[in-house]
């Protein structure tokens, strides 16, 4: 299946992947509304890490593992793999116990404290490419076939 990969040398640390992710997962899909006017601002599913004032930066995201540790740790069954292999979080079913946060070795499950629900990348089911990939101005994120243990 296709996954999102991150090229550290190409990352300029602009955080546009996070903005695009928040926008895509908002109600309005409009960045200004999503950031300022919606009741609960979505949490970005990708996380840009930086060091030395931005000299080192790269975006981390869910690997959609073949054997996901988050799924194995989930006590409510909110995390399931769909037919395509995408690891999905059913936020209605999630009880906010953070077991997935404890288990994911990629640090790729976020806590939405306002909603008390865990969040994770869904590879943007309504789009051809994930929003973060399309938003990256220097092609530091690529969406391509690959496997993941």
């Amino acid at each position: 299946m296709k996954r999102i990969y991150s090229i550290e040398d190409a990352c300029i640390g602009c955080h546009l992947c996070e903005v695009a992710c928040i926008t895509e997962h908002s109600r309005s899909k409009d960045p200004v509304r999503a950031f300022l006017h919606e009741k609960v601002r979505p949490i970005s599913r990708c996380t840009v890490e930086e060091k030395d004032g931005g000299v080192v930066s790269f975006s981390t995201n869910c690997r959609h593992c073949d054997e996901p540790d988050c799924l194995r740790a989930c006590i409510s069954g909110a995390i399931q793999k769909d037919g395509q292999g995408v690891v999905r979080m059913d936020t209605e079913q999630c009880i906010g116990c953070w077991s997935c946060v404890m288990a994911c070795p990629y640090g790729a499950v976020q806590r939405n404290l306002k909603a008390k629900k865990a969040n994770k990348c869904d590879l943007c089911p309504d789009r051809e490419n994930p929003a973060c990939v399309d938003a990256c101005p220097n092609r530091a994120l690529v969406y391509k076939e690959g496997s993941q243990k």
Binding site: E49, T60, D69, S76, Q80, V101, C104, G107, V142
Partner: protein, 425 residues
Amino acid sequence: MNYVIIGNSVAAIGAIRGIRKVDGEGHITVLSRENHTAYGRPLISYLLGGMVEEKRMPYLPADFYEKNKVNLLLGSEVVAVESPASRVKLASGETIPYDKLLIATGGDPFVPPIEGMAGKEKVFTFTTWDDAAKLKGLAKDINRVVVIGGGLIGLKAAEGLNQIDKQVTIVELADRILSAAFDRTAGRIVAKKMKANGIEVLTEDTVVRIDGEGSEITGVTLKSGDFIPCDTVIVAIGVRPAASFLKGSGVEVNRGVVVADNMETTVPGIFAAGDVAEARDFFSGNKNPMPIWPDAYIQGDVAGITMAGSSQEYIGGLAMNSIELFKVPTISMGITNPEAGDRYEVLTYQDLENYQYRKIVLENGLLVGAVMVSNVDRAGIFAGLIRDKVAVAPFKEHLLAPDFGFVHLPREIRSTLFAPQGKAA
């Protein structure tokens, strides 16, 4: 191939998926003494407290059993395993033959004999959906509850009861609550939070008698001599591997069912996984029962794959718990109570006023344990560092930072994890 699985919780589900990865056709029969399809067992305290509705209890999509061609027999308690004949005997007298058998029966609550307990109506354990439903059904007749045991189950039961406005006292024999999962500081933070929410926590004491008339409870008498008035008692001292039905089967049972690294028991063709099993510990290599949800899933997966004729290596049980009590999230993993001396190096950060705490345990430059309170974000990165035995000494000063991440790790590691040319490609 005819697979029979005794038990229907997370280890069984891991095993069903494990079998189906290898064998799409074999017959799978699941026997459960309960009357529910698989449910999120740890959710029972949320159900009791009204934080989760009944319809959210099922752990699996409704079509799971059908899709995986599983014959699920509920209300079917196994009373014996007749290994020479390769069949199991049900309480109804019926027998069911197997080619490969998985024991995934989990744990049974341990209830010690306590003076005055016999004949009392409102003495409960708290490990099943039915236990929670019973307590919920009786809620209007319950006012004051004594919970015996300050472990995970006891504390979650206490929280659930507190959420429905019951007055709760926890009585714990040790000098602190959650002594198994937490270190002293984390235990103290949680105890403080519980007390602030009106739960009484008594340590270094125990219930020696349940007092009352006929079937009614009027209170409990403690070893210290104190009397605590109550109308309900919950016994949450601990669980024991549910393996008594294996008597005479030839399967070796120590504290749990002894299994090799492929989850096979001492009787070929019979496997065990989850809380009932005694598998290898990640660090010591010793065999221990490890009642940990994700570990039960992983053991089930290994057992299922092996039963279906393929092979999978169990890397050893790594204890980990994510517990939120009264809105204070905590995550602990690995060795959290290291022995004193120079074998372990311990790093801590604490701001107890704000319920913030982080502790890192190192051994020979490797991460072996972590405790996080309040800020638990990305805790799983630590789990990965433990499992992969990553040398963390060069960047250990970053481990306590709230924004610790892959950026602090050697570049090769993050390339392997995230870059197109890494192990992912």
